[in-house]
């Protein structure tokens, strides 16, 4: 039973890591390779805030806001001039962001590992099903569920979501309706960058905060996005949970095969349903 709880928390964490990637792809058709770097930036920013204020929650709030501002800047300065070119150029630009962001983090925070801890409220472990589950894991489950619900509401039910979806589907049409499409795009990219940083801030207490951390999660995030169906928030949640559960079971019976299990899911998906397991529409790219 405890394995299921842990699997759930792993899944939700994966979702938090991948949400920004899936959002930016779904709405802008940009694969953001710098997602991992923004995630890392989020962890460092949260560390810095916790260090200054002594409060975990301050980091959780501030990191995404700062990263969102940086994301907006990236979009305005670099991505905007290339929207009318082939998608490849946008992807490659985000590749350049990786190098610049990583270097910036190295200059600001140096090479030493940084660390942060779970907030007081979720510091201990809770006895359940005969094992002690760290309460921070339970927080991640709850927080991940809340974020996914909020995203779902914003994108699927609210007016903003409607505008965003319309702008990604038919920018010319939306423009004639008097909506500033450029602004919408900046907003979406910035929001996605903020989500990546949020993932980093949440992951901070679980992993060492170091320069290579962005490289490590980017492939995981891609897998979530592919299995979930590119740009599909609901699919991303389900895919993340599926992968989390698979991994949790893998860890209990055959830890050395965990990475393969993930890839088997991925390749199975690609063979059976290239458009994603949880996709409603046909393939999108």
């Amino acid at each position: 039973m405890s394995t299921i709880v842990i699997g759930l928390s792993m899944g939700m964490l994966l979702f938090l890591l991948a949400a920004g990637l899936t959002l930016i792809f779904g709405m802008l058709r940009v694969i953001n390779f710098a997602h991992g770097s923004l995630y890392m930036l989020g962890a460092y920013l949260a560390f810095q805030m916790v260090n200054v204020t002594g409060n975990f929650w301050a980091g959780l709030v501030a990191a995404p806001i700062i990263a969102a501002a940086i994301g907006a800047l990236m979009e305005r300065v670099a991505l905007r001039p290339v929207y009318n070119r082939d998608h490849v150029y946008q992807l490659l630009l985000t590749f350049g962001f990786i190098l610049v962001l990583d270097e910036a983090v190295r200059i600001i925070w140096g090479l030493e590992y940084k660390q942060m801890y779970p907030p007081e409220l979720f510091a201990g472990a809770i006895e359940m099903f005969g094992s002690s589950v760290p309460s921070y894991r339970l927080f991640i489950i709850g927080f991940g569920a809340a974020v996914s619900a909020a995203l779902f509401f914003i994108l699927d039910r609210s007016r903003y979501g409607m505008i965003i979806r319309a702008a990604s589907g038919d920018p010319e049409m939306v423009r004639t309706l008097g909506i500033n499409v450029s602004l919408v795009r900046t907003g979406v990219f910035s929001f996605g960058a903020g989500l990546a940083a949020l993932g980093g801030a949440v992951a901070g207490p679980l992993f060492p905060i170091e320069l290579g951390m962005g490289f490590n999660i980017i492939i995981d995030s891609f897998i979530v996005v592919i299995i979930g169906g590119l740009g599909n928030i609901r699919g991303a949640v389900l895919a993340a949970l599926l992968i989390g559960m698979t991994r949790a079971l893998g860890y209990s019976y055959a830890p050395s095969w965990v990475d393969f299990l993930t890839f088997i899911l991925l390749i199975g998906t690609l063979i059976l349903r290239p458009e994603g397991l949880f996709s409603r529409k046909g393939r999108t790219a």
């Binding site: 699997g7 590992y113 660390q115 472990a125 760290p134 170091e210 860890y251 050395s256």
Partner: protein, 396 residues
Amino acid sequence: MNIVKSTILTAACAAVLAFTGSNYAMADEPESFKIGAVLPFSGPYGIIGKGMKQGAELAIEMRGGKVLGKPVEVTWEDSETKPQPAVQKATRLISSGAQMIFGAASSASTAALQGITEQRKIPLLVTISADDKITRKNGYRYTFRTSNTLGMEIRMALEFTKAAGLKKVYGVGADYAVTRDGWDAYKAAAEAAGVEIVGVDYPPLGNRDYSVIIDKISKTDADGVILIVTGSDGVTFLKQAGQAGLGKNKVLFGPVLQDEVLAAAVGPDAIGAASGVRYHYSLDNPANKAFVEAYRAKYNEWPDSFAGEAFDGMSWFLDAVDSTNSWDREEWVKAFEGSVRENSVEGRKEMRACDHQALQVGLWGVVEKGEAPYPDLKMKITNIFQPEVLFPECEE
């Protein structure tokens, strides 16, 4: 230009070249002693390169900056922790006259460097990479390692198991060849010593979530957990184990689990974790005291294990070179082989002639709370194991 003219010109050039060449052969004494250092300075491993550079620079400074009466000139190159740049840069350093190569950090880069240094017959000084294969009997004539091997650190973990009286041990190893070999060796020896092996798991190298494994271990009656993982993997495990309270009734230890850099990354959850230590500034001997004092004066920080090992290896190697009074690299190799250093910063070290591995004591320590001027979390050296129990006979 006609053929005659060009032929004369070529001949003249050749004569000049031959003359200068023969001149060199007679003098055979370069202007300076050139060291090519290939270390990671960018990327996540940059911290290793920084410590090694500081340690090696101090070693050269403390001998007056000279070897064989000539100034030492070091060129620092960034290996990016990748084999290709490491080899490429070493090649260039050698072709511009480097007398020796110092580096690299990761075992993969070092193994790659061995290809080129053996080929060009240039000594390679290794002070960090721990893969046992780097030094082996009849292996690499020009490679010398003054630092620990993983095999020796595994044996330290075994000695610790016995000394701490652990009866039931659970193993966790990163899934790759060296750790699997290490585990097999540990398991066989531990079982022979009457220790029960409760279980073993091999999560992938670079694994990020140990919570299921930690949960599994917490449900066993093991009294010790050996973690054959290094760097970030160890940090991740200890962080997550701390959150689940695994360390409360089980001893967490490993051959290269913790040092002060990694303990700082874990935080208070690291306290109590036991680990092999490559070098430590607290060692009580005159050579180390002099080194630590000079290091703190120069850099205003405690030397980490990368700096200590680099200092020790570089001082030793240059002393060996000086003792030959010759610019013949073969002489250096002969002098270094079998040389004994009574006053290294870690006590006595002996460069074994059969495999070019330095025999030395093994340091073992535990993470504890530190007070100023020490870091918040420091290693306390608890055991010093003698080379006789750590180094088996020379193996191919």
